[in-house]
């Protein structure tokens, strides 16, 4: 690793996009205000972008690659997302940005009925090298229409892969892997993690899609978590360690297809499973994991499978309610009490 200091999640995404574009001419970005300021004279004269996306993630890429490869679109989600599908099926490698995953209701068709199904409907003749960058997550006081976590909804669609990176290191390698992939990959960034720093090599590298990561080894209990919930899982594990319980913490990393082997192996070892997913409680990745485990690792289970998720409500605005809405170390400990309490006497 040639870089001295840590860089932020946000800078890492920028770096990965930069390297992907440098490596392959067919890679281009499109979305709303990815550059900003199109046709504004003073910016054009200075070859400057105005925004670099609403979060500043793509700042600097337009000046470097030009407006033809960093395409600002009108506010027309259905058509620019669908255009990305059309460009991908004809051989380019588009990386559209859906500013908030909550906007999926404007353009789901492009993924659900078109992009994800073309290869199958066309008898295997199409490939779909399309990476949809989007953001999810509560915790930014962005209220009900800008705080959802819909990676599970998208991951339910056959043909779609969904990645939810937790660390800057993974974010870079996974984004580059996604752009190399010949399928739709939804790359879902937690907007509240953009400021998180971590060590990231400057070089181009990929992290394989579909592999979960064991963040902490343990023998008593498996905690599978997604995105920023991994930090919650780690806090829970720290807390439990003080009480002599050794939790294994797995960062799922890829939500579709998720890494059944790693999860099943861990549960076969520990016999206990907690899943933390900030999506709303029904029909999500957490239920999928619980269902697979209750089927394929049933004989190894020593207790109920616990899912800690958001409640079955929209995301509230008020700061105190939003904090309550999100799973926390405390809520995990409380809601999974049953299987944890069981463990303590065993370990004591």
């Amino acid at each position: 690793m040639s870089r001295k200091s840590n860089i932020t999640f946000m800078q890492v995404i920028n770096e990965a996009l930069d390297q992907a574009m440098a490596k392959d001419d067919r890679v281009f970005l499109m979305g709303e205000d990815l550059a900003g300021g199109a046709t504004v004279k003073h910016l054009a004269e200075a070859n400057q972008d105005a925004w670099g996306g609403v979060f500043g993630v793509t700042k600097g890429l337009m000046p470097k690659y030009g407006r033809q490869r960093v395409i600002d679109t009108p506010i027309s989600e259905m058509s620019y997302m669908g255009a990305a599908v059309g460009a991908a099926v004809t051989g380019l490698r588009p990386v559209p940005e859906l500013m908030f995953n909550d906007f999926i209701g404007y353009c789901l068709d492009t993924i659900l009925a078109q992009g994800s199904k073309m290869r199958y409907m066309f008898g295997g003749k199409a490939s779909m090298p399309l990476t949809v960058r989007t953001t999810h997550g509560a915790g930014a006081n962005a209220a009900a229409q800008h705080s959802g976590s819909y990676y599970g909804l998208l991951g339910a669609i056959p043909g779609v892969k969904v990645v939810v990176p937790t660390t800057p290191y993974d974010a870079k390698g996974l984004l580059l892997a996604a752009i190399e992939d010949n399928n739709i990959v939804v790359f879902s960034e937690d907007k509240t993690l953009y400021g998180v720093k971590g060590p990231v090599p400057e070089e181009y590298y990929t992290v394989p899609i579909g592999k979960a990561q064991i963040k902490r080894a343990g023998t008593d209990l498996t905690i599978v978590a997604i995105g920023k919930m991994v930090f919650v899982a780690q806090a829970v594990a720290d807390q439990l360690a003080k009480e002599g319980v050794e939790a294994e913490v797995i960062d799922l990393v890829t939500v579709a297809p998720w890494d059944q082997a790693t999860v099943l192996q861990s549960v076969q070892k520990t016999g206990r499973l907690i899943i933390i997913d900030e999506a709303q409680p029904h029909n999500n990745t957490a239920t999928d994991i619980a269902a697979v485990v209750a089927d394929q690792a049933f004989d190894y289970l020593d207790g109920p499978v616990k899912r800690i998720t958001a409640p079955n409500t929209p995301v509230p605005f008020a700061t105190n309610l939003e904090q309550l809405y999100l799973p926390s170390a405390q809520s995990v400990l409380t809601e999974a009490q049953e299987i944890i309490t069981d463990l303590k006497p065993i370990k004591a």
Partner: protein
């Protein structure tokens, strides 16, 4: 359409001032880190919401946008409840659960700010359909931006309004930018008003900094709608005083001398000058109204500050109706 009277001119002037004062306060409080989330200010565009809503009764409806504070105040929402909502307090119009982007007050006919750009189009159609269905003479105003005009729902909804002759007025707030992108880049049509022709509907472009221009154009459109003559599209050219949202550094300012001059105009001062000249109200009345507006906003801030956060239980409530 009624001509302005001393009463209605003062009311309009008060609302414009209330919006401006409200936004200036929100701006300061946001900068101080007191208010959470995204905030989009309406400062500089007051003439549009106030002039348009001057033609509405309480029972008429409006749909709004992410930049909704001005529409709320113009339609008669309580500023205490609004400010408390923006603070996320339990006394807010939505119990603090909606926030700036979702303020709504059905009793005032305010069908919600909307975090989804273009989200108001179909809702306006539904509300207008309701009026027609129940044979009322109520109307609906659908506010939307220059950016929103490029969403597919614009097309679908204007077409539906036209074929069914729905009582809805589409008021386009063309403030020169959708986020950081100007319509001259994002839209192929020379004016948004000209798109009305595609729906065989009257379309008119007016100076959105000029209260009377908006007042007259929307007034005629509302009259047509009430008379069962169908929808209209009014484009109002304007400019927002501040960034897209609070925190936006606005690196994308206007270039041309005309644009810069336009952006400097103050719709409130212009209306004040006009009204004084037209003897709609006196200097003393104007000052009194200004003071009242400021006092109301200051009281609203105090009200919001003093209000409690919602109870934990509120998280789980209001998902399903009985």
């Amino acid at each position: 359409m009624k001509a302005l009277t001393n009463e209605t001119a003062k009311a309009a002037y008060q609302k414009m001032n209330t919006i401006r004062d409200f936004e200036e306060h929100v701006r300061k409080i946001f900068a101080a880190g007191v208010i959470p989330g995204f905030v989009h200010l309406y400062a500089g565009e007051e003439a549009i919401a106030v002039a348009a809503c001057a033609h509405l009764n309480q029972q008429d409806y409006i749909t709004s946008t992410h930049r909704g504070h001005g529409h709320c105040i113009a339609k008669g929402c309580d500023v205490n409840g609004m400010m408390a909502e923006i603070y996320g307090k339990t006394t807010g119009l939505c119990k603090g659960k909606g926030g700036s982007m979702h303020i709504a007050d059905l009793d005032q006919g305010m069908l919600g700010a909307n975090g989804m750009v273009g989200g108001g189009f179909p809702i306006a159609i539904g509300a207008a359909l309701r009026q027609q269905y129940l044979k009322t003479d109520r109307v609906v105003i659908c506010f939307f931006g220059d950016g929103a005009a490029n969403e597919g729902a614009f097309h679908e909804s204007l077409n539906m309004a036209a074929i069914w002759k729905l009582p809805v007025v589409f008021v386009n707030e063309n403030n020169g930018f959708g986020e950081a992108t100007p319509p001259k880049y994002a839209s192929a049509s020379k004016t948004f008003a000209s798109r009305a022709a595609a729906y065989d509907m009257p379309g008119e472009k007016v100076d959105g900094k000029d209260f009377m221009a908006v007042y007259n154009a929307v007034g005629q459109a509302v009259d047509r709608a009430r008379a069962g003559e169908g929808p209209s599209l009014i484009e109002c050219q304007t400019y927002r005083t501040y960034g897209h949202f609070e925190g936006d550094e606005q690196t994308y300012k206007f270039d041309s001398p005309e644009e810069i001059a336009f952006a400097k105009r103050d719709d409130i001062q212009e209306f004040r000058a006009y009204a004084l000249k037209a003897n709609l109200f006196t200097e003393a009345e104007a000052t009194a109204v200004e003071d009242q507006a400021m006092a109301a906003v200051q009281a609203a801030v105090q009200f919001a500050e003093d209000s409690p956060l919602p109870d934990a239980q509120a998280l789980y409530e209001d998902v399903y109706a009985d």
